[in-house]
């Protein structure tokens, strides 16, 4: 009990303090604050930076005057990648802190129960950076998500199509696929295998890599067997670097095509630039405006590295768009009211605003005046379809000594055209 007690005591004091502080804020309307909840896997290697970026976006918003004139208070909870824990955290945020907006979660297996058992019943808007499952689209089509769910993660269709496009343009005749064995990986590997075969490119092997395996040697050996021209990787940095180091040391081809999850310094450093010369990555892209690099510059200044890692720019955009929508919806808006304003923030006809503090301030001003804006974020000219999915133009990129650089830009029309071709 020695260790148990402080927690319980802490919780009680916490409760008391919370009550006091909520009274305090209610009485002093001058410096108000609005609460936003976030449920993100901060105890996982790739989850921690995603949370840091969300926190940073909130800081920027506060620097630019906050939301509806109030400071934004981000309450961050760890999901531990455990659905029970994530749902409980979300429920506590909604019921105890009264947040109308939840950022997260990352894994679809956590986001889905949060959406069905917390967000929809309580009329809370959910903005996920990274949940990729097609199940959300199905749910939205059935009308069960009540328009409360948005994600800034471009559906895997675009990623896969651009990956296949790279393989075709480089003239690869055969490709092996290594994918993360989760909903995103299963989805994207099926998609790209279909796309490649539609282009007449042989898929020599499609090998799933499970999380938390001590060695990926056997999987890599399996993928090596067909002696493919190129390797397609839909992995996260940890298992990605482990697998690619094995792959290269076993003499596998250095022609690699990467999904955007491997746009990561960890991956580049652990594999080494000398082996990444023939590597092309894919990603969704920013529009061709001068303000598009705003996020990259900001990130460099703040974290002293490029924003390379799974979900970082998505997390930034998710936070910014959600906060702007919250502003547009006005004080004390409900989840569905905020959700309804997302279209106003991402209006293709609206005034373009950049993804930094100045852009945020400009956007809040326009929105307060009843105008609409086009948020030009880190992942591009974000535009949501009826199911809360985002579609965007794409880029291919390559690694450089200091980070990554863009290799080519593929417009939304080109992406759509190509996807129609391979379908």
């Amino acid at each position: 009990m020695t260790f148990n007690k402080p927690i319980q005591k802490g919780a009680i004091t916490a409760g008391v303090l919370l009550c006091l502080s909520s009274f305090a804020t209610a009485s002093a309307a001058a410096d108000c604050s609005v609460k936003v909840g976030a449920v993100l896997p901060t105890s996982v290697d790739w989850g921690r930076p995603i949370a840091a970026v969300a926190q940073y976006a909130v800081d920027l918003a506060n620097e630019a005057g906050g939301v509806t004139g109030c400071d934004v208070e981000l309450i961050l909870r760890d999901s531990q990648v455990d659905p029970k824990i994530g749902v409980d955290a979300a429920k506590a945020l909604v019921d105890l802190d009264g947040v109308p907006l939840l950022l997260g979660a990352v894994s679809s297996g956590v986001s889905m129960p949060i959406l069905t058992s917390v967000a929809v019943p309580s009329d809370v808007m959910m903005m996920s950076c990274c949940s990729s499952s097609t199940a959300f689209t199905e749910l939205a089509k059935e009308g069960k998500s009540k328009g409360l769910f948005y994600r800034t993660f471009a559906t895997s269709g675009v990623q896969a199509a651009v990956g296949a496009m790279v393989a075709r343009d480089k003239g690869y005749k055969s490709v092996a696929i290594l994918y993360k064995n989760d909903d995103w990986g299963q989805d994207i590997s099926n998609l790209i295998a279909g796309d490649l075969e539609a282009l007449g490119i042989t898929v020599t092997a499609s090998v799933a890599l499970n999380d938390a395996q001590p060695s990926y040697r056997a999987e890599v050996t399996q993928a090596l067997k067909g002696k493919p021209d190129a390797l397609y990787l839909a992995l996260y940095p940890t298992e990605g670097s482990a697998a690619v180091r094995e792959w290269i040391s076993l003499g596998g081809t250095q022609n690699m095509i990467l999904a955007n999850s491997l746009k990561s310094d960890e991956f580049r450093d652990n594999v080494g630039m000398q082996y990444l010369g023939n590597t092309t990555g894919t990603d969704t892209a920013s529009p061709r405006t001068e303000s598009a690099s705003a996020f990259v510059d900001l990130y460099k200044a703040k974290f002293d590295s490029e924003p390379n890692g799974p979900g970082l720019s998505n997390s930034f955009d998710a936070t910014m768009i959600a906060l702007l929508a919250m502003h547009a919806a006005g004080k004390d808006a409900s989840g569905s009211q905020i959700a309804a304003q997302v279209a106003v923030v991402t209006d293709p006809e609206g005034t373009p605003v950049s993804a930094d503090a100045a852009g945020f301030a400009k956007a809040t001003e326009i929105l307060s005046g009843g105008g609409t804006v086009m948020y030009q974020g880190a992942t591009g000219n974000v535009r949501f379809d009826g199911s809360g999915n985002v579609s965007a133009p794409a880029v291919t990129w390559t690694f450089t000594e200091s980070g990554t650089q863009e290799a080519s830009y593929i417009t939304l029309e080109e992406v759509d055209e190509f996807m129609a071709l391979v379908d």
């Binding site: 670097s241 482990a242 450093d269």
Partner: protein, 304 residues
């Protein structure tokens, strides 16, 4: 086929080193220690620290040895890490397991070991960050031993295999030829009788932890050399190590070594028949099948 077999042997060597320590602890203290694999993490990370230290003080040590990615500094660090990990193991026992042993039953120990594993893993995560790290960023190319059937082997792996075998031989010598070894076996057989014969129980228990910790540290460094280091390698390795221990039979050092190789080889061979998504289940399939045939493992004795 040949390739999978060779890979399996090389992976198995690391698992074996971990399993030896675990089997000795499980035999002596009669509890399944789920925090054993965390000793590998402690070993791997302390070697990382020592390595940075030695390479900083004497840059000449940072040169590579022949075709290996191993440096002299890392070899030196490995020995230091073995000492540090042995010591940590003894300390953990003093602070946690000994106290629980004095008042609780085996199951409390098992659960305490879960708790200890959680603490170690996350403290490492706080100190070193959650990202993967490497001793050396260079990728050492595998050497083609034969082209048909294709057989590629990395020099590091051969080194690790030889080093692991050497360590096992030394251990075998200590256990079978020295008074220490006799004392260990006496205590494992019958603690009270051993105590009556003038063996100090607490010393022998400490010794088991030191040996277990040292072997785990070596395994951790070898694993880091071949793969990568991150705070969760204990979590990733705990199941193969347990599988090896149980397949070999608790208490049998030879069994643990063999078990390690069996687990390594079958995990690599399994993908020849199973889709790779099922690979985490493979070690358990082996355990299940083996336990159906031999309920006490290959070399385990019946215990009550």
């Amino acid at each position: 086929m040949i390739q999978s077999l060779a890979d399996g042997i090389l992976v198995g060597a690391i698992v074996s080193l971990g399993a030896i320590g675990l089997t000795m602890v499980m035999h002596m203290l009669r509890f399944a220690n789920f925090s054993h694999a965390e000793l590998l993490s402690i070993g791997a990370y302390s070697a990382l620290v020592f390595d940075a230290l030695f390479s900083g003080i004497l840059p000449i040590l940072a040169n590579k040895i022949g075709p290996l990615s191993m440096t002299w500094a890392l070899i030196l660090s490995m020995f230091c890490a073995m000492g540090a990990t042995g010591l940590s193991a003894v300390l953990i026992d003093r602070f946690v397991f000994k106290r629980i042993r004095d008042k609780g039953d085996e199951l409390s120990m098992v659960f305490a070991s879960f708790g200890v594993a959680l603490i170690i893993r996350n403290v490492l995560g706080l100190i070193f960050g959650l990202k993967s790290q490497l001793y050396s960023n260079d990728i050492v190319f595998a050497v083609m031993v034969s082209s048909d059937p294709l057989l590629l082997i990395k020099p590091d792996q051969v080194f690790v295999l030889l080093a692991a075998l050497l360590i096992m031989l030394v251990l075998q010598f200590v256990l079978s030829r020295t008074t220490l070894g006799y004392a260990l076996r006496a205590v494992a057989e019958n603690p009270s009788l051993a105590e009556v014969s003038g063996i100090r129980l607490s010393w022998v228990i400490a010794l088991v932890w030191i040996i277990g910790g040292m072997l785990a540290a070596a395994a951790g460094v070898f694993y880091g050399l071949n793969n990568h280091i991150n705070p969760v390698i204990g979590r990733d390795l705990v199941l193969p190590i347990f599988a090896a221990t149980i397949v070999g039979g608790i208490g049998s050092v030879f069994g643990a070594v063999l078990g390690g190789f069996i687990v390594g080889i079958s995990a690599n061979m399994a993908l020849l028949i199973l889709p790779s998504g099922y690979s985490p289940a493979v070690p358990f399939m082996i355990i299940l099948v083996l336990l159906l045939v031999r309920p006490n493992g290959l070399f385990g004795e019946t215990q009550t």
